[in-house]
């Protein structure tokens, strides 16, 4: 196999051109709904109607009808993955990588259709739906190369000390069955990423997509199987929490790759820590959880740039990204100017359906989310001042008006709990250090932002910031594979970096082999 060309990010569509927008609209026109999503284990497909995903902007529109995987089916999926593991692990890494690259090509050929599905099933606005497809492709391309590198190119980097008479080698072996439990907010990219990392390194996978996004989960598995991943090596388990819990608990699961809420992630960590009788391997958890992401605005910030970036960070995709900004901590000298302009900018945002290119804020994912955001907005109104966020929204979907609140007391839950919706708070601080103290007091540390034009301030905040991804003078979302390896610290995650060079190390176990090369006093 010839060397692969270097990784490059799949370019997003140039949507400023009408011809490119037309491609996406055509993709939506060709989308035939609802999809039927089976519980798909090996070559067995069980269709069902127990699980239904709907368009958050028009809940009466059914996007996918799926079987709801039972704990027994989860067990069967793990057993199938366990059975397929030796052969897949023994498949040369170049062949495994080639299968992922073919899966990437499969997705590339269907970019508009896949983006359209994300628009419908998860209400991702077009630019973000397109970016989600690109990121899925990026993960396949990136981890395919990374796995080859782990086995070959990078072997020299970890060369061990060698002395006469012995040969030392460090190599990586796949861990076994990986349970992938994925979220709905990047319905293609994140399940693809976690699954691709596991498969590339020789593990087999049982994938449980979010119950809100079984249709997108189906496409991920179709892509991988079309690319040549053996049927036994990737199972699809559309389902809910019980299926996920059964997967995590299964004694044959070696690795749990999870992206989602903090409480679920912590529960998975507890499950993993419980070594059950008969278990022959400690479970490892790769978890990406929530945050309470803060943007610091110092007095020398350029508000012309900060305001649009803050609006993007907090309200794109209705704030439903783990990287989304939730709090702005602004120098008191700029507070009033920032609040005034931010309120005006947010008041102009268009709340609407995801398939409208003009939409800024799409509906949130489901009724429960709508209620949660409204509950926090009410809390913010009680404890502080809502400067904008009372506008009318369409009535027929899970819409919420974007909210900006100020003047909240420091112990308000609105400043500490993850809302995961279009709600942004602004608080005045005396200086950057007061802002950093408040950030340091948080138990989570996912993303952060800073607007300052003083290099010394930038260096100081870089030193003090605990977050996994810090963004200076730009928005805090939109991490790119290979450019901004993504993941949080503290209670935000296990410190792993999706889309980074060391991510794959979490899916393998290191093995050191030392061979005595002395025979009867002679080095042979």
């Amino acid at each position: 196999m010839t060397a692969l060309p270097p990784f490059r990010n799949e370019p997003v569509l140039e949507l400023r051109r009408a011809t490119e927008r037309a491609k996406l609209a055509a993709g939506l026109g060709e989308l035939r709904l609802p999809l039927s999503v089976p519980v798909w284990v090996g070559d067995e497909r069980r269709f069902g109607e127990e699980l239904v995903s709907t368009d958050p902007g028009r809940p009466e529109r059914v996007v996918a009808v799926a079987g709801r995987a039972t704990p027994e089916e989860a067990g069967a999926a793990v057993a199938a993955a366990r059975a397929a593991f030796p052969a897949w692990a023994a498949t040369p890494v170049q062949e495994r990588a080639a299968a992922l690259l073919r899966a990437a090509a499969w997705m590339r050929e269907r970019r508009a259709a896949l983006a359209a599905l994300a628009v419908r099933e998860c209400a991702k606005p077009w630019p973000e739906a397109d970016a989600d497809v690109c990121e899925a492709i990026d993960f396949l391309e990136f981890y395919a190369r990374g796995a080859i590198g782990l086995q070959h190119e990078r072997a020299a980097e970890r060369a061990l000390l060698q002395v006469p008479g012995e040969r030392n080698e460090l190599r990586y072996a796949p861990r076994g069955v990986c349970a992938v439990i994925a979220p709905w907010n990047f319905p293609l990219a994140i399940p693809t990423g976690m699954t691709a990392a596991a498969l590339a390194t020789g593990n087999t996978v049982a994938l449980k997509p979010a119950e809100q996004a079984p249709g997108c989960g189906l496409r991920v598995v179709e892509a991988l199987r079309a690319g040549g991943v053996p049927a036994g090596a990737i199972a699809l388990l559309p389902g809910e929490g019980d299926a996920g819990a059964a997967l995590a608990r299964d004694r044959a699961v070696a690795t749990i790759a999870f992206t989602g809420s903090g409480p679920v992630g912590l529960e998975l960590l507890r499950t993993a820590a419980d070594v059950q009788p008969g278990m022959r391997q400690l479970k490892r958890v790769v978890a990406e959880m929530g945050g309470k992401n803060c943007i610091v605005v110092d007095s020398d910030a350029d508000l012309d740039e900060a305001i649009p970036a803050i609006v993007d960070s907090a309200f794109h995709y209705a704030g439903q990204k783990c990287s989304a900004a939730a709090r702005v901590l602004v120098h008191e000298a700029l507070h009033d100017a920032l609040v005034g302009r931010l309120a005006g900018a947010v008041a102009g945002l268009q709340v609407g359906p995801a398939d409208d290119f003009a939409t800024d804020v799409p509906p949130v994912i489901e009724r429960e989310a709508q209620e949660r955001v409204r509950r926090y907005a009410a809390l913010a109104a009680d404890g502080g001042t809502i400067v904008t966020g009372t506008g009318d929204v369409p009535a027929d979907g899970w819409y919420v008006a974007p909210v900006v609140a100020t003047g909240l007391p420091l112990d308000s839950p609105v400043l500490h709990e993850e809302v995961f919706g279009p709600l942004l708070t602004v608080e005045a601080v005396r200086d950057v250090d007061e802002a950093m103290d408040r950030i340091d007091a948080l138990p989570v540390a996912l993303t952060g932002g800073l607007f300052s034009r003083n290099p010394r301030t930038v260096a100081h905040v870089v030193d003090r910031s605990p977050v996994g991804n810090l963004y200076i003078n730009r928005s805090t979302t939109g991490a790119m594979v290979g450019r901004q390896p993504f993941g949080g610290n503290r209670l935000s995650g296990t410190g792993t970096k999706a889309g980074g060079d060391d991510y794959l190390l979490h899916f393998v176990e290191p093995r050191v082999v030392t061979e005595n090369t002395v025979r009867h006093g002679l080095v042979v």
Partner: protein, 451 residues
């Protein structure tokens, strides 16, 4: 071949004559000093970056101490410091030193800003505009301001534009006649001339949803067009980055096609020659002009384009084809090709050539002559503060000149200022070439397009 040879010969003749008409720098020692400072900055990329970052942050600094802190912080990142900068760094160590340094830095930036910004308001700009007019140079006023992110800011900008139109129309009406500036083959030319930016007329320009910004900007722009029509003023709609080109061009052409604007005002758009697809944009404009009868032909201002770095960076970050020419010669050749098409399209359009490149300007003058146009049948535009010498040379040569004059307070004007400075010190800038003594023959050579 004969036609091309005679065009080339004419370009050389015109270029030499224009060069001879440039005013002497010895008459203005202060300006020569400014040029020296810019040259110094041009030679060292780190120093240039530090100075630009300082210029950019000056309006946000709250005190001279704050100014000094920023200045020394930027200078820390310059590895090779001239002695003057080392002295400045030492000043940053004491409070008195910081006060002096901060004040000096702010004064320096303000001094530079005055070179580019003709006044803090249209009224304050009038003395300069009157002097330009007396010297045979018309103006287009551009109102600087912070970015528009709210509807209130868009309204405020539209209000400032309306006020500017009133002020300019009133003031220009009092000025003496300048026949060259007031007529061309298509008829009378308005004296008062305002350039506006659609991005300032709406906070809702979205690259993926042009209709949204158009809808929001339309009422404000329509109001300004009506006012310009009633005052007999010219309204020029500037072009910005490619992100908003579709929105801006469609909006302007749609509004100008409304029956209420058939008899006026005089209005214009911008064509950016650095865009690879600018010939297709010109097709769109000419096709529109052909089917949209208006009393006053639309003015097309041909520029190279001021967002080159932005376009390249954005394309590279997204993995897109770079939409601009990356070789200067390709851009120059396209500029000449578009010049030719525009001049030949008259009287469907009026043509304004906005370039500081002597070759591009000489080419337009020569081609206009060969097409039988009178000197006043094509306009030349220069940037205040940057193309002053060229503007005077053109005016002295009997050509029709307009200076693009930024108006606004220095704080709001900073972003603009920085971009002008960047352009001035860019490696391939004609002005820089000229300053470094590149021979005239070389400056006037035809652009060598890649095969």
């Amino acid at each position: 071949m004969g036609a091309i040879a005679s065009l080339e010969a004419e370009i050389q003749r015109v270029g030499m004559a224009l060069s001879d008409a440039f005013p002497s720098h010895r008459a203005n020692p202060l300006k020569a000093l400014d040029d020296r400072a810019m040259e110094l900055a041009a030679q060292d990329a780190e120093l240039r970056a530090a100075l630009f970052r300082f210029v950019d942050v000056v309006p946000a600094c709250r005190s001279v101490d704050d100014l000094a802190a920023h200045l020394t912080s930027f200078l820390e990142q310059v590895h090779t410091r001239p002695p003057s900068l080392r002295a400045a760094m030492r000043m940053g160590d004491t409070k008195a030193g910081r006060a002096a340094l901060g004040a000096a830095g702010a004064a320096g930036v303000r001094h530079m800003a005055h070179r580019f910004i003709v006044g803090e308001s249209p009224r304050a700009a009038l003395p300069t505009l009157r002097k330009l007019w007396r010297d045979g140079i018309a103006a287009s006023v551009d109102l600087l301001g912070e970015a528009t992110v709210t509807a209130a800011e868009a309204d405020r900008y539209a209000g400032r534009c309306a006020e500017a139109l009133d002020t300019l129309a009133g003031a220009y009406a009092q000025m003496s006649e300048q026949p060259l500036l007031e007529h061309d083959a298509s008829g009378a030319l308005p004296r008062a001339n305002l350039s506006v930016k659609v991005s300032a007329l709406t906070p809702l320009l979205r690259p993926a949803a042009p209709a949204r910004g158009q809808r929001d900007a339309a009422p404000r722009l329509r109001g300004l067009l009506r006012q310009a029509r009633d005052l007999g003023a010219h309204l020029h709609i500037d072009m910005e980055s490619l992100d908003s080109r579709e929105a801006v061009l469609e909006l302007v052409l749609d509004l100008l096609a409304e029956p209420q604007f058939a008899d006026g005002p005089s209005a214009g758009v911008v064509l950016q020659a650095y865009l690879r697809d600018s010939p297709q944009t010109l097709d769109t404009i000419l096709e529109w002009a052909g089917r949209t009868p208006r009393a006053q032909p639309i003015v097309v201002r041909l520029v190279k384009g001021a967002y080159w770095d932005h376009e390249v960076v954005e394309a590279r970050q997204h993995g897109w084809n770079v939409p601009v020419f990356e070789r200067k010669a390709d851009c120059d050749a396209n500029f000449e090709a578009l010049t030719a098409r525009l001049l030949e399209a008259r009287p469907l359009v009026r043509v304004a050539i906005a370039s500081h490149n002597l070759r591009s300007v000489a080419h337009a003058v020569a081609r206009n002559r060969l097409l039988g146009g009178a000197p006043g049948d094509v306009e030349f535009q220069v940037l205040r503060g940057l193309g002053d010498d060229l503007g005077r040379a053109l005016a002295a040569s009997g050509l029709r000149v307009r200076a693009y004059c930024p108006v606004g307070d220095l704080v709001a004007g900073m972003a603009y200022l920085v971009r002008r400075l960047l352009e001035n010190t860019a490696n391939e800038s004609f002005l820089a070439d000229q300053a470094h003594g590149v021979p005239l023959e070389q400056l006037l050579e035809p652009p060598q397009v890649a095969p």
